[in-house]
Amino acid sequence: MNLASLITIVVLGAGIENLVFSSALGLNKVVLDLSSPRRIVVFGSLFAWLGLWVTLGLNLLEGLFNKQQWDEYLFFIFVILLTILVSLLTNLLLQKTTGQFYPVLRKLIPLTSLNTALLGVLYVSTQTIYTLKRSLFYTAWSAVGYTLALLLIYYGKKRLSLSNVPRAFRGLPALLLYLGIISLALYGLR
């Protein structure tokens, strides 16, 4: 991997092809309601951890099959199986190592594993970017982009709640307009 391709993957994963701003992946009520920046960063780290291990597993499994055999069905089934396996192992690991923080982290594991962003990033990283290193790099930067997007949403929501927004647009509509403006700006870079 040369520097140019690395930069391209970083720009694509974290910026232009950002999961949240390009296709609203990974946005649900609970994720939008994450209550502090620290929690969002922890959530993003867990997402990256899970995504990296599942990407690694998928790439290894993909090597066992022919190009013709490896279709979307197989991909989906393996994503589910690997997600279950990695989230179980992560749960066990966190239970043994994190002590008093475990109750908080335990709530975040299902949020990361049952997330549309996870399937989206795995689909792009394994179906379009073929080498293992590139896939892992893309997954890591997508997770960074996802976390940054959630932080942007968090601070945007905070500002919007303090500002004088027309009544009909208060809450979700104002947030959607805010998201739309950012994704329009990122779309302009394409």
């Binding site: 296709s23 279950i84 689909y123 509509p173």
Partner: protein, 220 residues
């Protein structure tokens, strides 16, 4: 204090509060990845709505059968397995009904297994509500999703591509940009706010009407 009157007005406005966003399930019905990125044609709307019902109802029903004291991690694994199985089956049904959406929707037909509507009811509501109420709430939120999906798809397909259900329609205004995914954010925001204004006006009208009737019927 006339508590009967308060009860009556509350029942009049309770349906509209659903549209105001004061109930959490209204928000769950707004499944952003699908509404923003996939609401570009009515066929997509029909396919995703069918899949939403096919995936959501059996999965939530199965998850309601789990014992209350089950660990959330184990519960989520079972939910994921159930949702994935139903997603694969419903994908076949959707492709049988609308073969052309397979190429355009692609991975979104699998994403239904990961949607928050499937996951959250089982995780959050079951501890407080009986199965019947959970199923009712889930059906209502799926209906909300269907309504929004069809409204957005209608506008985007008609004005964005000049078609309806894939058939050419002559319209004076055509904006190709409506098919771009970020426009979904703007459109959805406007649709929600219009719904809010409409429901607010309607509930105010209903309250004033019932007040007027009460004043007429009350003895002088």
């Amino acid at each position: 204090m006339k508590l009967a009157l308060i009860k009556k007005y509350r029942s009049t406005t309770s349906f509209h509060s659903f549209f105001d966003g004061s109930l959490p399930f209204w928000m769950l019905g707004i499944e952003l990845p699908f509404l923003v990125a996939c609401s570009t044609s009515l066929k997509h709307a029909a396919a995703l709505s069918i899949q939403m019902f096919c995936v959501l109802l059996p999965t939530v029903f199965i998850s309601c059968l789990f014992p209350k004291k089950m660990s959330p991690i184990v519960k989520n694994i079972f939910i994921l397995i159930a949702a994935s199985t139903v997603t694969l089956l419903s994908r076949q049904l959707v492709l049988f009904l609308f073969p052309e959406v397979g190429a355009t929707l692609g991975v979104y037909l699998y994403l239904m297994a990961f949607n928050s509507l499937t996951i959250l009811p089982a995780a959050q509501l079951k501890s407080n509500l009986p199965t019947r109420k959970v199923m009712g709430a889930v059906t209502l939120s799926a209906l909300t999703f269907t309504c929004f999906m069809f409204v957005l798809s209608f506008v985007r397909e008609l004005i964005g591509t000049g078609k309806l259900w894939g058939i050419n329609v002559s319209i004076p205004l055509r904006l190709d940009g409506l098919s771009l995914s970020f426009v979904g954010f703007f459109l959805l925001a406007f649709v929600i706010s219009i719904t809010r204004v409409f429901s607010k006006v309607r509930s105010t009208f209903q309250i004033s009407e019932s007040l007027r009737k009460d004043l007429k019927s009350s003895p002088k």
